[in-house]
């Protein structure tokens, strides 16, 4: 019993920093959005969602973030499985490759996607040369290019989370399953996949949170009709100095993230059952 209490003491330094520098400012951000002339009110939120434009932006942001997460799962899962089965040395090397996109600034990354996806970009030139298309496709400045940019940006987080879990899956378990007559597909579905779910949750939450709050990538790769929630925050805070509205949007983002995290957890515990 006594021992346990001392273990809690180890939490103290982190807790103090979190309380002082995260919880307190976050609370003051969230709290002011519920403040009205007469006590607490939801008026600011109702006003926000009453506007069909704001609803459109909210749905677009949610859609882009979910799509990005889904694609990151589909691309990240096989990659991570491959990496996790490599020798320790090769694994390190591959992980460095996977993390590479995180090492450059979002602006540089987005500019390089413009070079690839542009009207005279690499992709269009190849397609034109192969006579697959007659005139350049519009690949830039729409939701398509935003999702590509976001997947590229956040895939490493998915891979890192999954590799961390998958490399701890005991080889013996797989052998045992195979020796008991499971086919490779069955091994994957009934052994590997369930054991990877914790990594999948962490990865999905990280990718989703990152995409829903992303500002630079949608700004640079998006077009005129691809405004996202982060753009609204920026407009309100930085050009109008309207911190209240900016806080409302920020709180909506936080609540959405919490809710989706909760859903992902629920979904995966059902998968696990």
């Amino acid at each position: 019993m006594k021992k346990n209490v001392y273990v809690y003491l180890l939490l103290l330094p982190g807790l103090i920093i979190l309380l002082l520098f995260l919880a307190a400012p976050l609370f003051s951000t969230v709290f002011r959005t519920f403040q009205g002339n007469e006590g607490l009110t939801l008026a600011k939120y109702i006003a926000f969602f009453k506007d069909s434009y704001n609803r459109g932006v909210y749905i677009r942001t949610l859609k882009l973030a979910l799509l990005t997460t889904l694609i990151a799962v589909i691309l990240g899962f096989p990659t991570s499985y491959y990496i996790s089965r490599l020798s320790r040395r090769a694994r390190g090397l591959y992980i460095i490759f996977a993390v590479f996109p995180l090492l450059t600034s979002p602006v540089v990354r987005s500019f390089s996607w413009m070079v690839i996806l542009g009207k005279n970009g690499i992709l269009n030139s190849i397609l034109l040369k192969l006579n697959l298309i007659e005139e350049p496709l519009r690949l830039l400045y729409n939701e398509f290019s935003i999702v590509i940019g976001l997947v590229y940006l956040f895939l490493p987080l998915m891979i890192m989370s999954l590799v961390g879990v998958m490399e701890n899956i005991d080889e013996d378990l797989i052998e045992a399953a195979e020796s008991l007559g499971a086919t490779r597909r069955e091994v994957f579905i009934r052994v590997i996949f369930p054991l990877s779910i914790p990594g999948l949750i962490v990865g999905s939450v990280l990718v989703f949170t990152g995409s829903i709050t992303a500002y630079t990538t949608p700004q640079l790769l998006g077009g005129s009709n691809t405004t996202v929630l982060a753009t609204l925050i920026y407009q309100n805070a930085m050009s109008l100095f309207d911190w209240d509205t900016a806080s409302v949007v920020a709180t909506i983002m936080i609540l959405t993230t919490v809710f989706v995290t909760f859903l992902i957890n629920k979904l995966s515990s059902r998968l696990n059952a």
Partner: protein, 364 residues
């Protein structure tokens, strides 16, 4: 168990409070130590903190900061960032160390409105008499002058656009379908598109800005993108995404390097003027030194050096440049007089509605 948990909570609180007190305490101590130092040793350079964008820092150091440091035994420290970030910083932290702040006209106006600046003593800045009238007191006699003017006009690729572009109204032309980039409304040059639209249909902006937005809506088939930074525009030209762009003059040099056939146009109606102003921040201990710096910034020497490096267009009327030296700059009496001023006081007052309409009508 309960008791230990309680004692842990108490301990945490004490620690947090203690840390705060220690934090305050050491700061106080540092201050007095610094004071002593500056009293005891007169050779110790004074510190002047300047809040500025951060572009061309190397050249500004050479042309402006270093000579001033040497002549006045000052150490200049920079705080860099965009207009909004830096304005917010001095607004949030009234005890900030910043002595001088460089801002675009619209943001400086906001600062004046909120009382963030010290009133200046014009007698300490004799060089104000040597600058263009438009730059002398854009925020009123009490506040800082403009040290440079830039302009928003049009850049187009002459190799890709057959009929030359001459006026703001040309941006609506049908042959420019899917080839134009304009600035985002919340950038320094953003609101000029609304003004240009109002001019095009001959309505007064203040009477009927909705009509201007209706007109601006008609430009949408031509738009590729509304951009937020000049580097985006340069990149779009370089990649051939756009052939026409509404741009600030300092971006032209980079566009021209990427697309040699690019041309700068001062439209018939006149390009739009933007003034960059410099102000002394309220609560500074170095007001006179700051005023001396402003005077130095307006001097012929600095203005010419910055013009030759193509950093800032000169406002000092005595600066003389050859045609080649003046390329890309807002230079010369005729040009300066042809510029259309932007009424930032009015625009700031309607900005929130404008952004709303812009989001809903132009961006959708």
């Amino acid at each position: 168990m309960k008791r230990t948990v309680r004692s842990i909570i108490v301990f945490t609180l004490v620690l947090v409070l203690g840390l705060m007190l220690v934090g305050c305490g050491t700061q106080g101590k540092n201050d007095t130590e610094l004071d002593k130092k500056s009293e005891g040793n007169t050779d110790e350079p004074k510190k002047l903190v300047i809040s500025i964008w951060g572009y061309n820092e190397d050249k500004l150091r050479e042309n402006v900061f270093e000579p001033f440091e040497k002549a006045n035994n000052v150490e200049i420290v920079l705080e860099v960032g965009n207009n909004a970030d830096r304005l917010n910083k001095i607004r949030m932290n009234k005890n900030s160390e910043v002595d001088l702040i460089f801002l675009a006209h619209s943001y400086a106006m906001q600062g004046v409105k909120e009382g963030l600046f010290e009133k200046i003593n014009r007698e300490n800045i004799p060089n104000i008499d040597k600058i263009y009238d438009i730059a002398k007191a854009p925020l009123g006699e009490d506040y800082g002058p403009a040290y440079t003017i830039n302009r928003t006009g049009i850049v187009y690729d002459a190799a890709a656009v057959d009929k030359p572009i001459k006026s703001w109204a040309d941006l609506w032309r049908e042959d420019l379908k899917n080839s134009v980039a304009i600035p985002e409304i919340n950038t320094t040059s953003g609101p000029v598109m609304v003004i240009a639209a109002a001019d095009k249909i001959g309505v007064s902006l203040k009477d009927d800005y909705r009509a201007a937005f209706e007109e601006l809506k008609k430009i949408k088939p031509n738009l590729v993108k509304t951009y937020a930074r000049s580097s985006e525009l340069v990149n779009m030209f370089a990649q051939g995404e756009v052939t026409v762009g509404v741009a600030m003059d300092f971006a032209y040099d980079s566009i021209k390097k990427a697309v040699p056939t690019a041309r700068w146009v001062d439209p018939e109606e006149g390009s739009f003027a933007n003034l960059n102003v410099v102000n002394v921040v309220k609560g500074t201990d170095n007001k006179e030194l700051a005023e001396k710096f402003i005077d130095w910034l307006l001097s012929e020497e600095v203005q010419k050096a910055n013009a030759l490096d193509k950093i800032d267009s000169p406002v000092n009327v005595n600066v003389e440049l050859t045609e080649e030296e003046a390329r890309g700059l807002a230079y010369g009496k005729d040009l300066i007089n042809s510029l259309q001023p932007v009424d930032w006081g009015y625009i700031n007052s309607v900005k929130s509605e404008w952004i709303d309409i812009w989001n809903k009508e132009i961006l959708q």
